[in-house]
Amino acid sequence: MEGVIALYIVLLAAFTGYEVIARVPVILHTPLMSGSNFVHGIVLVGAMVALGRADTLLEQVIGFAGVVLGAGNAVGGYVVTERMLEMFKSSGERKKKEAA
């Protein structure tokens, strides 16, 4: 990848991250931190590549550990975030659910 293009990606992504979070209400701080924690679980794909290209035993061992940890980040982050957000309901939604 061209170095300069990579820098553009970094720049734009940094602004995007800032803007996406800027107006979040305090009530969602914990789930949102958990959600962003899930998003960096994408490190899993990098760990897969590292393990996939590992030749020596040492590389395989480290790569294996990397994939275990990355998968843990992705799956764990998803499960706990989903569990938390699933519970956020307004009065209207609750009434509908009780009526159903």
């Binding site: 990848m1 990579a6 990606i9 970094v10 992504a13 940094a14 602004f15 991250g17 800032y18 996406v20 979070i21 979040v24 209400p25 305090v26 009530i27 969602l28 701080h29 914990t30 789930p31 949102l32 931190m33 962003s36 924690n37 998003v39 960096h40 994408i42 490190v43 899993l44 794909v45 897969m48 590549v49 393990l51 996939g52 290209r53 590992a54 030749d55 395989q60 480290i62 790569g63 990397g66 994939v67 275990v68 940890l69 990355g70 998968a71 843990g72 980040n73 764990g76 982050g77 998803y78 499960v79 706990v80 989903e82 569990r83 957000l85 519970m87 956020f88 309901k89 307004s90 939604e93």
Partner: protein, 473 residues
């Protein structure tokens, strides 16, 4: 070694899918910043993760597939199992744990790259220029600190590590470790062909730094630290993404890095602390402060009388604290509030930013009990309403309603935003015993003329209040 598909097709598919992944992640995070769409947000982001992971099997030149599947099954399986079982009160430390795993994975990617450079005759394809090596080393450093630091944070919140280790000159020692790690890292990059020992030492020092940085930090400040390490892991992932030329990792990592930094600042602000303060001063735990003199006496009241007081009120504002969560009383409290609502009483919940273990944590706990989020207000929204409230019901909260934060310049919590429960016509405080709050400061609210104390376990008291209100008809 070949891949699963011809190289040009595989590359095209992977590039296209990573673009989609980046899009889905950003859309998901955006949706997660509003309670109405939040649930959809995590599902959208999850879809992105699934696509990205599946397509990555197509990478050209990959092998070790059985190992990869076993590793995913182990890591994913354990995380699934633990994530489904964890209690909502323990959520902060689980986030720390999963975050640490991400940091560790980023460090592992860097380790593979750096160890490859130590080979006597490195593969031509594996040789990196100094810029790429520097990126790999930077990601390794941040990722390793986030890994060990998050594990310590987990251990502390989980109660596995009970005390804070502090000694004189701790900051100097930490600074020396930083300097040594950076020096070795610089040497590794400059040499272009590092020794195995230097790489091991580099990782060892970075891991040590995460431990020594986190150990002295008190439990109350831990959420800010966890949030900071979350941003760290994002950055580490982005650095390793640059090394691997993986666009999905770069975008996701940088987005989390910047969002996480902002979130850390918001959390620190909500707790009336600065990030520097959290990292470099050791408050946050049990420092006994001068109480100041309190006039008046604590006036106890029976739950039956308190119940009647609420049953005939027009407006009740409930202020839950972590003590309520510890007593697992949120379900009973909501049952009590539903009873009041049915009687025509207006009920609101007032949440202080640090009411739970981290900002927003109390909202999660109330949501678990079934409280709709539109009955829950944060500090700025509700503070003007206390003057019109007949009863402020304080359950297991202490420092966040202490008026000395407004009035006493000498108090350690002076300047911290508080909920103005003292402005309500009547204040009921449900409390286990007569001890001071977690900061050790006497709470002047408890001694006010319009305050009555209801002593006992929050869950049992809530049950007696329900009984009293039902009896009142």
């Amino acid at each position: 070694m070949g891949g699963l598909l011809p190289e040009n097709i595989a590359t095209l598919l992977i590039d296209a899918s990573y673009l989609l992944v980046a899009f889905l992640f950003i859309m998901g995070l955006k949706a997660m910043s509003s309670p109405v769409t939040a649930r959809r947000g995590i599902v959208v982001a999850g879809l992105g993760m699934l696509i990205g992971t599946l397509m990555s099997f197509l990478y050209p030149g990959m092998g070790n597939f059985p190992l990869m599947l076993v590793a995913i099954a182990i890591g994913g399986g354990l995380a699934w199992w633990s994530g489904k079982r964890v209690a909502m009160t323990d959520m902060p430390q689980m986030i720390a744990l999963y975050n640490g795993m991400g940091g560790g994975a980023a460090a592992a990617i860097a380790a593979v790259e750096l160890f490859r450079m130590t080979a006597t005759q490195p593969d031509v394809a594996a040789v990196h220029g100094p810029v790429v090596m520097a990126l790999a080393a930077a990601g390794a450093f941040i990722g390793a600190v986030s890994f060990s630091g998050s594990l310590i944070a987990f251990g502390k919140l989980q109660g596995l590590i009970k005390r804070s280790f502090r000694f004189k000159g701790q900051q100097v020692v930490n600074l020396l470790i930083v300097a040594a790690t950076l020096a070795i890292g610089a040497w590794i990059v400059a040499s272009g062909h590092p020794t195995v020992e230097s790489v091991i030492l580099f990782f060892g020092l970075a891991l040590l730094l995460g431990v020594t940085m986190t150990l002295p930090i008190g439990g109350a400040d831990m959420p800010v630290v966890i949030s900071l390490y979350n941003a760290f892991t994002g950055l580490a992932v982005a650095f390793e993404g640059l090394v691997l030329e993986n666009a999905a990792m770069i975008v996701a990592g940088i987005v989390v890095g910047s969002a996480g930094t902002l979130l850390t600042q918001l959390m620190a602000k909500a707790m009336n602390r600065s990030i520097g303060n959290v990292l470099f001063s050791a408050f946050g735990e049990g420092e006994v402060a001068a109480g100041g003199t309190v006039s008046g006496a604590l006036k106890p009241i029976e739950p039956s009388d308190a119940g009647i007081m609420m049953a005939f009120a027009q407006k009740v504002i409930v202020i839950p604290g972590y003590g309520m969560a510890v007593a697992q009383a949120q379900h009973k409290v909501w049952e009590l509030c539903q009873l009041l609502i049915d009687k025509g009483v207006m009920v609101r919940f007032a949440i202080h930013p640090v009411a739970g273990r981290m900002p927003g944590h109390m909202n999660v706990l109330l949501a678990e009990a079934g409280v709709p989020y539109d009955l829950i207000s944060d500090l700025d929204e509700i503070n003007a309403e206390f003057e019109t409230a007949d009863v402020a019901l304080v359950i297991g909260a202490n420092d966040v309603v202490n008026p000395v934060a407004r009035t006493d310049k000498g108090s350690p919590i002076y300047g911290m935003p508080i909920l103005n429960a003292d402005k309500a016509k009547n204040v009921l405080v449900i409390k286990r015993g007569q001890g001071a709050g977690f900061s050790g400061i006497e709470n002047h609210l408890f001694y006010l003329d319009n305050t009555r104390m209801v002593y006992g376990d929050a869950q049992k008291v809530a049950a007696s209040l329900i009984h009293a209100i039902k009896a009142a008809g």
